[in-house]
Amino acid sequence: MIARVTPWIALAARLYLGAVFIAACLHKIAHPYAFAVDVATYGILPLALVNPTALVLPWVELAAGGMLVIGLRVRAAALLVAGMMVVFMVALGVALARGLDISCGCFASSGAEADPISWLTMARDGAWLALAVLVIVADRAPIGLDRWIGRRDSR
């Protein structure tokens, strides 16, 4: 029973994570300078890496999110999501340990008052990391391009 249901739970997790990551990247892609300020505010990366991170990371989020939604190379996309969540959690942990009162920068640059980092942010990221791992382990792509491509190749 569990074995039969788990792939469908993984499918729901896959679609949810995909939607979250697409939503998360839109503001960052439209406003790279604002996101660069958010990245710089964490005070972790050297200055030379702030802008490349601010420019490329949202596109990786968009690609991973889109791949999860359409079911293309799902495990690679989920691996990217899991990797990003680990990086985000490390950055959050360092910022929280330093006592920084800053904006999360997770979705939009709305300022520390409206979108502050907290241990709740860390817990949310941990939950998303768990979902990404579930997708890697349990997703059998019951719906999506991977299945369609697999059927076409097997003909």
């Binding site: 200055l47 490349p52 690609a63 330093r98």
Partner: protein, 175 residues
């Protein structure tokens, strides 16, 4: 069904699957970087790939903030000989005008009050501390007062309206 290498160990397929997934993820990152480069190149205001100067980040602001009382510019506490009056403004503003006897402890919006300045305030033996700032919104005097209070200084007040309110009518003063 993918072909399997003859004589391959049982974990071969799993290892190849993991390797393939990692390679695919790397390709996605590379393609994303390419898309980012193209999108940035066609922007009206492209973000330079390497920042040439530090970002003016708002924060960190980890300093504790305590309770303070706002007093008016005419409050007798300001003229009380047992009160330590602190000017939170920068040196230029202090030189231009300051309340006689005021001590300058400039409020920095990013960095905390230096320990030596804090120790001086604590060692002053004053019965009360009154801080005035630029009277802006937010007021540097109020912010410094909150920081001093949060870091253990007792009986801290700030002048509502700051230096302009204290100067009264005249150039640079309150109307």
């Amino acid at each position: 069904m993918r072909a399997r290498l003859a004589g391959a160990p049982p974990w071969y397929d799993a290892a190849m699957g993991v390797a393939r997934t990692i390679v695919e993820a790397a390709v996605v990152v590379a393609l994303s970087a390419g898309a980012a480069a193209i999108a940035n190149a066609v922007r009206e205001d492209p973000l330079p790939w390497v920042a040439t100067q530090e970002y003016a980040v708002h924060g960190p602001c980890p300093e504790p903030a305590g309770e303070v009382t706002a007093i008016r510019a005419g409050d007798p506490l300001i003229r009380d000989g047992r009160t330590l009056v602190i000017d939170a403004r920068d040196e230029t503003a202090f030189r231009e005008w300051h309340l006689p006897g005021a001590r300058r402890v400039e409020f920095d919006w990013v960095s905390p009050v230096p320990g030596a300045a804090l120790a001086d305030v604590a060692a002053s033996g004053a019965a009360a501390v009154v801080v005035y700032g630029d009277g802006g919104d937010p007021d540097s005097g109020r912010e410094l007062a909150r920081e001093l209070s949060g870091r253990g200084i007792r009986n801290v007040h700030h002048v509502d309206g700051g230096a302009p309110a204290l100067r009264g009518p005249g150039p640079g003063g309150a109307p």
